[in-house]
Amino acid sequence: MPDHQRQVHNRLAVLRAERGLSRKQLADKLGINYQTIGYIERGDYNPSLELALTIAELFRLPIEAIFSLKPMTPLSEEIFREPPAETR
């Protein structure tokens, strides 16, 4: 990844493991090379908006649940996090 680019953090590896998909299987569904999945998971390559949206569509999740400019917190923490007091 070029130095001037911001790293895009993602949960691709976790989501792929949850669904029992290999990199090859996911790559075939997305129509890309399997190495590209590895590069995205490692944070070495930022996918295009089109590819990011296709991944979100495939996992049936909003794009911000998969990609973020900030480091991702574990999914379990997000699910079981206490809601703020005023929303209770």
Binding site: P2, G31, I32, G38, Y39, R42, D44, Y45, P47
Partner: protein, 158 residues
């Protein structure tokens, strides 16, 4: 066998790939310089030729490895390139252009300094062929070499 070799080349770490690229780029000029030096010695002509060819072997080997590493991503031989391959190809061509421009500017500057220092440049087959061979060997190979230079290590299979 062929697949195993290709796979090994595919997983070459970047540090090793960069060393190979350096050998590929330096190999031919070193061989030509050695040939020019050996021509003025009393060594047998066949021995000089054998030494020259021996010095060319690492260049040819490293060029072959770089070409294999590119796996059709530069010349478009691979049936389908995804967006990362296309981005990488673009970066490899851009870097090749910068490297080539630097080499040409440096060569022109050195020649200019040499000529303005009162020297004369003899342009004959002895000077033309090494330059022409450099163009023939490196111009088509430069994008593959640059791709091998810039690509980060392949992620481990999972």
């Amino acid at each position: 066998m062929n697949t195993i070799t290709t796979s090994r080349i595919e997983y070459l770490p970047r540090s090793r790939r960069r060393a190979l690229v350096a050998v590929a780029l330096a190999g031919y000029p070193v061989a030509v310089a050695a040939l020019a030096g050996l021509k003025h010695t009393s060594l047998n002509r066949w021995l000089i030729l054998a030494l020259f060819l021996l010095l060319l072997v690492p260049t040819l080997a490293t060029l072959t490895v770089s070409y294999r590493y590119a796996r059709g991503r530069i010349d478009g031989c691979r049936a389908r390139l995804d967006e990362r391959d296309l981005t990488l190809r673009q970066q490899a061509y851009a870097l090749s252009h910068r490297v080539l421009a630097t080499i040409l500017i440096a060569a022109t500057a050195i020649t200019e300094i040499y000529l303005t220092s009162g020297n004369t440049l003899q342009f004959d087959a002895n000077t033309f062929w090494p330059a022409a061979m450099w163009v023939i060997v490196y111009l088509p190979a430069l994008p593959s070499l640059m791709l091998a230079w810039i690509e980060t290590d392949l992620p481990a299979d999972a």
